[in-house]
Amino acid sequence: MELVLSAVTGGLYAAGLFMMMRRSLFNMILGLILLGHAANLLLFTLGGLERGNPAFVASDPAAAASFPDPLPQALILTAIVIGFGVNAFAVVLIRRAHGAIGADDLDELKSTDCSD
């Protein structure tokens, strides 16, 4: 299971970076979202994967070894919420920018390079 998730995480990082390097605004946002997912999945895998055990910890410390670490899962929850907010903002931003620029092309973002 770890191997599968590692491969998926790597694939997500690669896909995210690839999408960010395209010229299209829309692909860039998709790339950012994929990168966020990749980082979350990485945290999840690092927490350890244990199937079938209920989510409470026995007072016996030896038994705790067969449970996944709950902390990374808490971190992912936080990161997902933050990522959702930021991505929602990003999508609205590119929609407005698309309206102002009239193209889905990053090479058209030139008005920051010259002024007046």
């Binding site: 990168l35 990749a38 990374p72 971190l75 933050i82 973002l109 010259c114 002024s115």
Partner: protein, 503 residues
């Protein structure tokens, strides 16, 4: 715990922002309620500074869970000084915004976003937990996205896309770094991590994680190969927003580098800090070479900002007590000085409606006092004694010579010279030369009213006085920076305060 002085720098801006949201329908009240909040933040920052100076490292455990399991806030001398300066700059920019931000931006939530950003900045300065640091970074990023695109002009939207894409990329790298660090060392509390990483000693894995953090924080601090978002975005929003971004946001990245690379990643100093020094040298030279060729007043200042980040990181890269003290002193100086310069650029734009240096001129005739203030800030930034930039540069260059890092010394001296050149160009083009003859006299509508002038000049004069005090009486400030540097180099007091006595 409710009385902990660490809570106020977070609570005051948060409550101010919430209060302002309740007053959404009365935007004309925002500026005054917000101003009270900004002064409150300044008071909270000074209170924290006083507490840390008398009692040493201050900590607060949020929710009552003890460290290293609970979330802990901690302020040593570096954090406390930065929080106090953040309060100072927040107040100054808030005062300036009263005349510098138009009514439409005010009505769409400029002041609440400003206060949320200040909260994020202060939170990042006092976070004692690496994941918490990530959360504060996102808080301040989210507020800064809003400030950057508020108004919705095309240049702002384009700038916001560039800023957002590269900063979110850095955040993803940061989060991955946090994940690896947790998987590798098993903790998120920075003081706890310091002990755990020290036990493990140097390894390729810990160096790799350190490089992930260098990439993430280097992007946020605008270090050399990662700085391209900054000159592409900081000149787009109105002047007070540019000023507060320039004064505070990159410095949060610098602070994060200072914290992580003195507390956690010190196992293989030759490798990690060697890279920091190389990047710092390149940042100084390339950033300031960029400044010399720019034609837009704000872009000149943006590249100056990038170049001077190099000085701060150079102090960290050299990693001696004198170098760190110089770097800390320089960071405080630069936060104040670059804000003054951006605010003065804002006044110039307010009165002429122009940013291109070619079409500006004759400002010395028009506003001799403002020109004098610009000259002071520009000389201070270039490091002319006895102004504040000189002492930081002196300490850094002495430390570089003591470590026999002649290339870094040469880079710092070249950067100093290029700053002077770039500032002289601005002086010549904006203040000294005659106004272009073909240019019509700026309309009277652009002339600020008397009250607007008061709100423009008070923050500039106030910050200049602080900068002058740092330059003319550097000793107390430098002693403080030295004590802060000692605290960073021997973090046992910090670790003990955070972990509450458990080793």
């Amino acid at each position: 715990m409710s009385a902990s002085p660490l809570i106020w720098p977070l609570l005051v801006p948060l409550l101010t922002a919430i209060g302002l949201l309740f007053l959404w329908r009365r935007p004309s009240w925002h500026r005054w309620v917000g101003l009270a909040g900004a002064f409150g933040l300044l008071a909270a920052g000074l209170f924290l500074l006083r507490t840390v100076m008398t009692e040493g490292v201050t900590t607060a455990t949020i929710g009552g869970w003890p460290a290293p399991y609970g979330i802990v806030l901690a302020a040593d001398r570096l954090s406390a000084a930065l929080v106090a300066v953040a309060g100072l700059l927040g107040t100054a920019v808030h005062l300036f915004s009263i005349s510098g931000v138009d009514a439409r931006r005010e009505a769409y939530g400029y002041y609440p976003a400003l206060h949320l950003m200040l909260m994020g900045v202060c939170g990042a300065f006092v976070a004692g937990d690496i994941f918490n640091l990530y959360v504060w970074f996102e808080v301040l990023l989210m507020a800064s996205f809003m400030l950057l695109e508020l108004g919705g002009e095309r240049i702002q939207l384009e700038a916001a896309i560039k800023y957002l894409a590269l900063n979110l990329l850095a955040s993803a790298v940061f989060l991955s770094g946090v994940g690896f660090l947790y998987g590798f060392a098993g903790s998120l509390n920075m003081a706890d991590l310091a002990g755990r990483l020290a036990q493990r000693g140097p390894s390729p894995l810990s160096n790799g994680v350190a490089m992930l953090f260098l990439l993430a924080f280097g992007t946020k601090a605008a270090l050399f190969p990662f700085f391209f978002w900054l000159p592409a975005s900081y000149h787009a929003p109105p002047a007070p927003i540019s000023a507060v971004f320039a004064g505070l946001l990159t410095k949060v990245g610098v602070y994060a580098l200072y914290r992580t690379f003195t507390l956690m990643f010190v196992a293989d100093v030759a490798f990690t800090h060697g890279w920091l020094m190389i990047l710092a040298g390149l940042t100084m030279v390339i950033g300031l070479l960029g400044a010399v060729v720019q034609e837009d007043l704000r872009r000149v200042l943006s590249f100056n900002l990038v170049g001077h980040i190099g000085f701060m990181v150079l102090g960290l890269g050299l990693f001696t007590p004198l170098a760190l003290a110089g770097g800390i002193f320089y960071t405080i100086h630069d936060m104040i000085d670059i804000t003054i310069l951006f605010l003065i650029a804002g006044v110039v734009h307010r009165e002429t409606g122009r940013w291109r240096m070619e079409s500006l001129g004759g400002f010395y005739d028009r506003a001799p006092f403002l020109s004098l203030l610009f000259l002071l800030a520009a000389f201070s930034l270039s490091g002319i004694p006895p102004l504040s930039g000189f002492w930081g540069k002196l300490a850094l260059i002495r430390a570089a010579l003591a470590r026999e890092q002649y290339l870094a010394t040469a880079a710092a001296l070249a950067a100093t010279f290029l700053t002077l050149l770039s500032m002289a160009q601005v002086w010549e083009a904006v203040f000294w030369k005659d106004r272009p003859a073909a240019d019509p006299e700026p309309a009277d509508a652009l002339r600020p009213t008397r009250w607007e002038k008061v709100f423009q000049m008070t923050p500039i004069v106030g910050l200049t006085l602080v900068s002058l005090a740092m330059g003319l009486f550097p000793e107390p400030f430098f002693r403080y920076a030295e004590a802060a540097a000692r605290g960073l180099l021997e973090p046992s007091a910090y670790i003990l305060a955070v972990l509450g006595g458990t080793p």
